[in-house]
Subunit: 481 residues, 2 copies
């Protein structure tokens, strides 16, 4: 039944061939999830190794799925950095949880495309349902409406396009060429995607003004106010303020409650990037970090970061979905459907016309874990981070480099005999040593000119035992010099 030679060359593989290999793949995934922590987190190989090992052309004749799966196991997996590994601590550690993977399997089979309501009522409406669920879990006011995009980069781009529509309406028809220069204000610690969005939207690199931060890497409201006043006096049109709750470098929290009135007074759009830390709004003890975010025009929260949902899944909440639609809707005749008046056509809220059924995996995750389950898992990650922080603080020669409000710790090894330049080299080398060993995987960042290791905890399989092993590897690597 599975021999490619005997297949009908005009159709799909036989459903029984899918069933046989589907079961094999499920067993592989179950074993992988059970044993991923025995694999090196990052492979120790040189760029090009996989590429040169593979043929440079697709096969002319069909190959068997046995052969494809064997190559997957023997060539692809050993060249993979395992984001689902409990000792993956780089960037923002995340999890493709079991329920999320099941949701993705079904989404791939349905292959639904939620561009307009009728192309998939279930994908459209489940997207409305789960974004509402998350909004309620996070305590957002009812007037926020969510859509699901691939990444926070896209979500922030779309929010800022809506801001442009609000603040430079003259550009709707004739573009930015005749309009005053527009500008977006965000902290010097903000994510690079804001600058990428500004250039994509036609504001250029000067279209972002980086606002100074305080000692804790939080945007300074007084500096924001000064920048807005300066620019207005200079003929620049302020378009949007982007505040971050959980910056990428140190997870700093901008004081949104102080920023919101300044943005309101200036009449600009306020976008809150909570792509990483957003889920923490479900924990009452973290409420202070989210004060004021309910005054934003738009908020981005990524379930693929810290809500245990496989890549990709980014929620963009907007109080003025009409403004988002104004920026993107241009329905041509072949996409006009009778439900226009009543159903939601999600393609009108962003660039992408084709839209996967991303709501399904998030629905599986939210139901299988429940709000209480999500909250206790998030709380555990914060607890584990405090454990590591305790080790760093208690061990001579190590130091924490930034406040740690959530579950991402920035620290370094700082032996007394090295100057700052040598410390940077030392910490880069120590990170590379651990990464190459495969025991754990870190990324780094620059904190006020100093190189720090970023230790992010967000994987559901991470235990204290894993962390002790990783801490041991760090201490050994540091001792090596």
């Amino acid at each position: 039944m599975s021999s490619p030679e005997t297949d009908d060359p005009t159709g799909d593989i036989h459903p029984e061939e899918f069933r046989r290999f589907g079961h094999e793949v499920v067993d592989w995934i179950a074993d992988y999830l059970a044993g991923v922590d025995r694999l090196p987190v990052m492979p120790d190989l040189e760029p090009g190794a996989l590429r040169t090992a593979l043929p440079d052309r697709a096969p002319e004749s069909p190959e068997s799925l046995e052969a494809v799966l064997a190559d997957f196991r023997e060539q692809v997996v050993p060249a993979t950095t395992h984001w689902n590994h409990p000792s993956f601590h780089a960037y923002f550690a995340n999890t493709a949880s079991g329920p999320g993977i099941l949701g993705e399997m079904l989404a791939a089979a349905l292959n639904a495309n939620a561009m307009v309501w009728r192309t998939s009522p279930s994908a459209t409406e489940l997207e409305e349902v789960v974004t509402d669920w998350v909004a309620r879990m996070l305590g957002l006011p009812d007037d926020f409406r969510g859509v699901i995009n691939d990444t926070a980069s896209s979500s922030s781009l779309y929010a800022l396009a809506a801001a442009r529509e609000m603040r430079l309406p003259e550009s709707w028809a004739s573009g930015l060429a005749g309009a005053p220069p527009g500008r977006i204000y965000t902290s010097e610690e903000a994510h690079s995607s804001i600058r990428k969005a500004a250039t994509t939207l036609g504001f250029g690199r000067d279209g972002v003004r980086a606002i100074a931060t305080d000692d804790d890497f939080r945007m300074r409201p007084d500096a924001l106010r000064d920048a807005l006043e300066d620019d207005r006096a200079a003929g620049v049109r302020p378009v949007a303020v982007v505040a971050t709750i959980g910056t990428t470098s140190t997870t700093a929290v901008d004081p949104v409650a102080d920023i919101a009135p300044i943005a309101e007074e200036a009449g600009v759009w306020l976008h809150v990037d909570a792509a990483y830390a957003g889920p923490m709004a479900a924990l009452p003890e973290f409420a202070a970090h989210f004060r004021g975010w309910e005054r934003a025009h738009s908020i981005v929260v990524n379930p693929h970061k810290w809500l245990f949902t496989p890549m990709d899944c980014s929620l963009l909440y907007c109080r003025r979905p009409d403004q988002l639609r104004a920026a993107f809707s241009l329905t041509p005749e072949y996409l006009r459907t009778p439900e226009l008046a009543s159903g939601t056509n999600l393609m009108d809220y962003g660039v992408s016309l084709g839209r996967r059924f991303r709501a399904l995996k998030l629905w599986f995750v939210l139901r299988r874990f429940g709000v209480d389950g999500m909250v206790s898992r998030l709380r555990e990650h914060v607890r584990l981070t405090r454990v590591v922080q305790g080790w760093v603080e208690a061990t001579p020669g190590w130091e924490v480099l930034a406040p740690c409000p959530f579950a991402t710790l920035i620290f370094r090894h700082a032996p007394a005999d090295l100057d700052e330049a040598a410390l940077d080299r030392h910490n880069r080398a120590l990170m590379e040593r651990v990464n190459r060993s495969g025991v754990a995987f870190f990324s780094h960042t620059e904190v006020r000119g100093r190189i720090g290791l970023r230790f992010s905890i967000g994987n559901l399989r991470t235990t204290e035992a894993h962390l002790r092993r990783t801490w041991g590897a760090l201490e050994s690597a540091a001792a090596e010099g």
Copy 2:
């Protein structure tokens, strides 16, 4: 083992719970693929039906996967439009093939993120490998380099951002505000995504000039030349020409061989939108339609349209990847890695930082079917379309409305006693009748002011028997009045 009550509330579900429900899901998918043609293609329900049937909050306590899967089968599936149904003929019919679904299952479990090389060497390099494979299959010159995006809307946006970088380099720093107005030229039949890209990039709705088409809906090179000359005289900066091989409305083919020298003479970027028809370049008998596309700066081809790959998977080919990178690269410190000089960092070629392992499903599909298998399946879709075209042409009262170069037929029922306005209403009503019946699913388009039905064949399960049944449903619906 699968009772949520007994779970560790800090971790993922147990791998054995994943295994048990994974097998159940695989069996469901195999049965679904075997029997999807017994389901209504589009559900007959009103907007809001699913939404109001579901709770308005996520559950506080965990639910069992039994319950979630039961609701999936009983509530989600009946509210789904089945893109994987052999009688789905709307938009561009496609297939999530068995090998593609297996690839997606594994991609979800690995959860690799190909933003920079080290975050997933396998995802990065397999993306280079499979985009090369498709380029060779389609006969593209070796200097085209591919990246995988979610959709053609994104691919065209990125290509046009690179065009802006080439043609308005002064906007790099200061944005479009001080620059001359830029303009993009594309046929009046081009996809709406080009207009969306132009507005997103800051060129406004006037930033696209629609070029007249000939009787066969192909861009008129003389009209393009005139438009470029007019605009230059008026101080507009021509940025890009977008030619389409397979327009969305009628799948018309712009004469790229005649357009390329005009674009070259004007010094503008030439982008070819072959999102739908691109795979046909693998068939020698269709070579004439692709003449000149090798002279483009960029080309988009979507395997999720007509290469049997689950959503989403759009290939953007570029001869000047450096120009694409110039438009999007702004690597911050926390994403700088030692491989910068040697490995590819795919995040630098578009908006999205997070990037799913989309290459894996395409690799499964290309290997399991082989080039010969892909070609014979594409050829079969063209053959089936000719069969339907024969029925339309042989049946009194029906007429074909546009040339049909590939596998999407535009036609209508045109009884002699109705005027044009009545014919439009009649064909809209007849389409709604068939769609509501669940037997088949069509979309429509407007062709020179007339409403036509779009009958697209692209699903691997579509047989002549399915088509005969659908044709019968169309004839009955037409006879109803």
